[in-house]
Symmetry: C2
Subunit: 220 residues, 2 copies
């Protein structure tokens, strides 16, 4: 295995719960009340798909324009709820280890550049780190496009890439991209939810992954 592709929210940065509360508030304002735990299980999908899923759960229909407006509003509420982004335990150290070991790695997120800037800063990664975001592909997770775009930029074939993510959407997109996946609990999913969705291993967080990195057989 020669590369590691990371999800961002809930995997490297402690932002899932703020995303949940922000989405729940925005959806409720729009007449689509969804229980928080259901919103939690939608985080990690593209914003467009998330708004459509919410519309479906509340038996409504929404236009493209409305979906776009909800995503903008979500970005504002999210920034208000979480003005400072914190890396998850071990995230900064894990990325540093990969850099120093010259193991190919990148970040692939359903988030948009405007929403993720503060998170990338918090991770203290150099500006030449490979980052693929929502705006780089036509379809975000659970479509495989984000991971495939990242793998191409890393120049490593899919079957030599690990995906690390906290949500079933990461694991689903990884399978569709022909990549092995590793789950982390730091986004709040239970271990079995991730294992069932196809995670090859499940670690508590980036720190536990780093402590066990030789289990992954990575080479530079």
């Amino acid at each position: 295995m020669r590369a590691v592709i990371f999800d961002l929210d809930g995997t490297l940065v402690d932002s899932v719960y703020a995303h949940v509360l922000a989405w729940q508030r925005v959806l409720e304002e729009a007449g689509m009340p969804i229980p928080a735990w259901r919103v939690h299980r939608l985080i990690g999908m593209s914003g467009g798909l998330l708004t459509r899923a919410a519309a479906h759960e509340t038996s409504r229909e929404i236009s493209e324009d409305e979906a776009e407006a909800l995503q903008k509003r979500h970005g504002a509420v999210y920034a208000e709820l979480l003005p400072v982004r914190h890396p998850l335990p071990g995230a900064v150290e894990l990325l540093r280890h990969l850099r120093e070991s010259r193991i190919a790695h990148g970040i692939a997120t359903s988030g948009r550049r405007g929403d993720i800037g503060a998170s990338l800063e918090a991770l203290d990664v150099p500006s030449d780190t490979v980052v693929v975001d929502r705006t780089d592909v036509q379809r975000a997770k659970p479509e495989p496009d984000l991971f495939l775009a990242c793998q191409k930029r890393l120049d490593v074939p899919p079957d030599q890439c690990f995906v690390v993510g906290d949500a079933v959407w990461d694991l689903l997109a990884a399978r569709r991209a022909g990549m092995l996946s590793i789950g982390v609990l730091s986004g709040g999913y239970g271990e079995e939810e991730l294992a069932r969705a196809g995670a090859y291993r499940v670690y508590r967080d980036a720190a536990e992954l780093l402590a066990n990195i030789y289990q992954l057989g990575l080479r530079s």
Copy 2:
């Protein structure tokens, strides 16, 4: 089986994610940064135990006074993050069904009266509903005291009571009280986390429990 004892937050009212974010913010202000998913797994414990758990995770010590101040501050931030409380799907209907069927039931929560008032109002329960809160017992969950106090007020022996809860702390306290327990996913735990902690059955939420209530063999 002759009685059902409900947890409140995450079981009847959609408040867990706001509790998580509120606790995380308060703990961080106090120099105890804890990832949100770890805070999530502490919700449902007594506030005192939660603050001690957070202190332990960050290798700190806190005094009783400091723990008390943190709980007060949490109550304020929580109310700010969640000004309106929403019942979870099926919660109002399930409680109404039990009233109309004359099946004994009550609510037992680690929350304090000041923090839970708005939640009880949202559930639209009559004022004579049995509610046991943090201030009624010496020790909250995972000690069995809350459930035992509720069972005594309902005048039903423990082995004829079901506990319904969203957190492992409910299930642990139920076992210690000699009661069977039922898990609900509406607090954001995974199904297997609840089943492993001893839940006799796990339903999606109060609505699914109500739809399957005859599986529980309750009588008035």
